[in-house]
């Protein structure tokens, strides 16, 4: 039945697109979190070095 094939491909492509988008959002969020992590660790370092003397 060709109809089922078309139906199947239609739905699967839709879901693939949506998941790619969601995945890209997750990736962007991850990279932002890494950046925030970097900044806060550097800030901590500076604070510690200032506290020493």
């Amino acid at each position: 039945m060709t109809g089922t094939l078309y139906l199947f491909s239609g739905f699967s492509i839709t879901w693939i697109i949506l998941f790619i988008y969601l995945f890209s959002m997750v990736k962007r969020q991850k990279s932002l979190e890494i950046q925030i992590e970097k900044i806060s660790s550097k800030l901590e370092k500076v604070q510690n070095s200032q506290a020493l003397p």
């Binding site: 109809g3 078309y6 491909s9 932002l32 950046q35 925030i36 900044i39 550097k42 800030l43």
Partner: protein
């Protein structure tokens, strides 16, 4: 705290509705007689089309509000909505031909509705590209203006294409097909599910963009302090 609970509840409802929609589409809804099982793409295609248009409309409104108020919040909304809109528009443009091929035996017809959607897709891709290349201090202004022009173009495109193809292909007649009650309910359910999904997608996209802006701000302040 209550806000957080509300958010979680919202996500859960969206999730459940999506499942209910899938159940309704494949099991509850009857198979259409003339088109066969392919007709079920209809439940994806139509809500996606509606949401794509709504997303572009949100971009249009947010662009106007931005130019009026000059608040960056609205620019972020316009941008995120355009991105989600392009996503749904892509889905429409892919499911459309997949539905059309077995039914009309062609992948594509230059029907006003199809052509308008295609042009809209190009316009908002251009919108996203414009944001990528323009200088930062003019980005919000330029993209807001383009967002307004892009949507103002929709009715005029529709009329122009109506003029161009006077013989409408099947789609206009298929507008009038009698939808049986179960089909109607299924469509309603998928509409709700997709709408909630769209809202949560948009909401999270906006949240992500705000996070990005805040991070960049912090980074700029940080670099300034430690460069001196």
């Amino acid at each position: 705290m209550t806000k957080r609970i509300f958010e979680i509840a919202f996500e859960v409802v969206t999730f459940l509705l999506m499942f209910a929609a899938i159940y309704a589409i494949f099991i509850y809804a009857p198979i259409e007689k003339t088109m066969g099982i392919v007709q079920k793409i209809f439940y994806l295609h139509v809500p996606a089309a509606f949401l794509a248009f709504s997303a572009f409309f949100i971009t249009f409104l947010a662009s106007i509000v931005y130019l009026y108020k000059k608040d960056q919040k609205w620019d972020v909304i316009a941008y995120c909505s355009a991105e989600v809109g392009v996503l749904f528009c892509t889905i429409v443009l892919i499911t459309g031909p997949i539905w059309a091929k077995p039914v009309w035996n062609v992948w594509w017809t230059w029907d006003p509705r199809l052509t308008t959607t295609l042009i809209l897709w190009f316009i908002y891709l251009a919108y996203l590209m414009l944001r990528g290349v323009v200088r930062e201090n003019q980005r919000a202004n330029l993209s807001a203006v383009f967002g307004i022009i892009g949507f103002a173009n929709v009715p005029i495109t529709f009329f122009a294409i109506r003029l161009w193809r006077t013989i409408h292909p099947v789609i206009i007649t298929s507008e009038g097909i009698n939808i049986s009650k179960p089909m109607k309910y299924t469509l309603l359910l998928t509409f709700c599910a997709f709408f909630l999904f769209f809202l949560s997608l948009l909401k999270n996209r906006i949240k992500l963009e705000r996070l990005k802006i805040n991070t960049e701000n912090v980074k700029a302040v940080y670099e300034e302090i430690f460069s001196s």
